[in-house]
Amino acid sequence: MSAGITKNPEIKAVPSSTDEFIKGLWRDNPVFVQVLGMCPVLAVSNTAQNALAMGLATAFVLLMSNVLVASLRNFIPKQVRIASYILIIATFVTVVDYAIQAISVDLHKNLGAFISLIVVNCLILSRAEAFASKNTIGKSIMDALGMGVGFVFALFCLGAVREILGNGTFFDISLFPDSFQAWIIMILPAGGFFTLALWLVLFNFYKLKKAKA
């Protein structure tokens, strides 16, 4: 009987801050498990460096918007909450956009419009709506950190595979002898779809294996 109670999510003890952090990292990984925020994941993951920069920019916006949404959660009227969240997110994205431009013009050119498009990343809005609007600031920070790190991790996994196979390099360091024929397809759009699909297959494979065991 007691085992039944602990398994029921309704009655289960309130999760600690560490749990909030861990869940985004693995169990609820935004990309591999929830399949949220696909557009930037596919578009800018053609090199490990772009992927990492994009992941960090998104994580920053996620963290800041989660903090602000959580602290304003009692003041925002329910009817206009989505509009308010989008405004908050758009503000931070503008900040990031100008910051990246100031840090590295090349990077800004590589990521292009996809920095601005962080605004419409479903991951950020979904965390604001599903988590930050109902929880304390502290917990929202942990949630954003977990999801952010999970997102960076996923983007990095994709970017690394695509750069190594498609370009034969890793962070611009050549990995293979000259005779290596790079798989151009991997840095093209189609490669993005294939790489993500294969990562998902890998995750499914382990999930099914675990379910069987």
Partner: protein
């Protein structure tokens, strides 16, 4: 100022640089509502409509922001305009066709966070298109989005009768198909 011809803008936006298959914009609805041909057609129509309206609005806003020298407000104003347009379309569809409203479900309000629309507004500004060019660009992007959605829906309807291995069921097989579609669309690259 950009002097591209209308025809080349249209072909570019719909086929060569297809928003879904080459720019990865609007992937969420592409995965979400591509299960049935009928819903896909209507979703494509709704997105194209929102694109046309936001394209005109974005053109006006850009001119205004340049006039008052406040480019940092660009992103915020674009997203507000798109959100209100979507709200309008939502009310319109709810009134005109409740059945369609239910079929589109959560994906209708989610057009707001469809990157294809914000992407369109940003790209047309970056490329410096004038008003008529922007409209053609929006039409092409909408047509391209609808085409990709329809192709996907057609394939997925067939897929229901096929035996898919457990391990690739769901999102994985959809992504694999999208990859193959993206490969075929690369064949258009000479047209631009």
């Amino acid at each position: 100022m950009n002097t591209e011809s209308y025809w080349s803008i249209f072909i570019n936006a719909s086929l060569v640089n297809n928003f879904v298959l080459a720019y990865f914009l609007g992937i969420c609805p592409f995965m979400g509502v591509s299960g049935k041909m009928e819903t896909a057609t209507k979703m494509g129509g709704a997105v194209t409509f929102v694109m046309l309206i936001s394209s005109v609005c974005a053109y006006g806003i850009h001119a205004l922001l340049v006039a008052i020298n406040a480019p940092f407000l660009q992103l915020i104003s674009y997203i507000v305009v798109i959100a209100s347009t979507v709200q309008l379309v939502e009310m319109f569809i709810k009134k005109m066709s409740p059945a369609l409203f239910r079929a589109l479900g959560i994906f209708l309000p989610l057009i707001t966070t469809n990157c294809a629309i914000l992407g369109l507004a940003l790209f047309q500004t970056n490329k410096g298109y004038d008003l008529s060019q922007s409209l053609v660009y929006a039409l092409g992007a909408g047509a391209g989005f609808t085409l990709a959605l329809l192709l996907m829906a057609g394939i997925r309807e067939q897929l229901e009768f096929a035996e898919v291995p457990n391990v690739v069921k769901g999102t994985a097989i959809t992504l694999l198909i999208a990859g193959i579609l993206s490969l075929t669309f690369m064949g258009f690259s000479g047209l631009g």
